[in-house]
Amino acid sequence: MYAQMVKTDAARVKSLDEMEPVERAFQERIDAGQKIEPKEWMPEGYRKTLIRQISQHAHSEIVGQLPEGNWITRAPTLERKAILLAKVQDEAGHGLYLYCAAETLGISRDEMYGQLHSGKAKYSSIFNYPTLSWADIGAVGWLVDGAAIMNQVPLQRCSYGPYARAMVRICKEESFHQRQGFDILTVLCKGSPEQKAMAQDALNRWWWPSLMMFGPSDDASVHSAQSMAWNIKQDSNDELRQKFVDQTVPQAKFLGLTVPDPELKWNDEKGGHDFGEPDWTEFFEVIAGNGPCNRERLEARRKAWDDGAWFRDGLTAHAEKHAARKTPAAAV
């Protein structure tokens, strides 16, 4: 997911009876489906976990612009270029909505940027893979945005007000992202044999990393159980992965593409697909910073931040000068 394996600091999930009155009241409000708002009392663990989760989500939206930005200048037509530009601009917007939501929890924007640029904060593993051909832009929209939608839709109902509201805005924009990706692949799959082969190659490379986006099975994880009790996570990683596979396989069929998994087959009994296990060693390598593009992504982010410093400072200086001119000079 855009936020993967978020830690909660919990050793185990407390029952209502073990809680102090104020925490119990908080938990009961969540159980009743109420929203928690910024200045209200919340357990320190809830606040910290949300900061981790929302900032990781925001970082993913921002770093996620890089693999797609790679193709803006090389899009095959002017229309495709305009569409991709709009899509990537949306992702910047998603990052900004989410940073604002995280700031309501008492962390500053610069602090979050600092954590991203130092490598302390994570972003989704998926954005550490390269976009090698135009078909990859199709695959990213179809699979990566498609996988993101799977967990962003339930997050619209999560317990923290500012996060839930940011998710509502994001979800409104995501289906455009997924459709433009699918549309790119539809055109390629109806094209020349070379174009179709490009689409198949993109699916071959993006399929497994997309399944890894949901993270390893978390059925036995305390963190996952705690996050679910707080209603900042609604489905297990395996449930979401299953949903994603079941939704995507027929779409691949429509395109005439083969999902690169020899174990994939329909299971009548469970009413879903059986499928193979992603390579979790690869996943943990990518998370640890050793994926194909980790270094390049972070360098690009740092460079953008550092190169923009003179501009940010210039605007600040301009604003201060104007403010000083407007306020009549105070008696000295």
């Binding site: 917007g93 900004l96 909505y97 604002c100 700031e103 400072d313 600040t316 301009h318 604003a319 104007h322």
Partner: protein
């Protein structure tokens, strides 16, 4: 140097003549840039016809702990709602 730009709250009036509504916040060095940024961040799909921005530090809010004392007085005044009164069927629409 490099100081963080101040935070602004953004309010947008949608297409249909409704009140300005809070949509989120953003950082900008001054009010003019805040409006520009708000257009790009919050109205990429024609969501609005007018934007207000207010420095977050200028917003005065009621404290969550005041919720009881502040809003309780309204609870006992059910007669403020029209449904409090029975209108006999013979009277017709009122």
């Amino acid at each position: 140097m490099t100081t963080e730009w101040p935070l602004w709250e953004v309010f947008i009036r949608g297409q249909h003549g409704l009140n300005h509504r809070h949509v989120g916040s953003l950082h900008a060095p001054d009010a003019k840039m805040a409006i520009h940024n708000a257009r790009d961040v919050y109205t990429r799909r024609n969501e609005g016809v007018s934007i207000w921005v207010v420095r977050s530090s200028d917003v005065v809010a009621s404290a969550p702990s005041d919720k009881g004392p502040l809003f309780d007085p309204a609870n006992s005044k059910v007669y403020r709602h029209p449904t409090f009164f029975d209108v006999p069927d013979e009277v017709g629409h009122m």
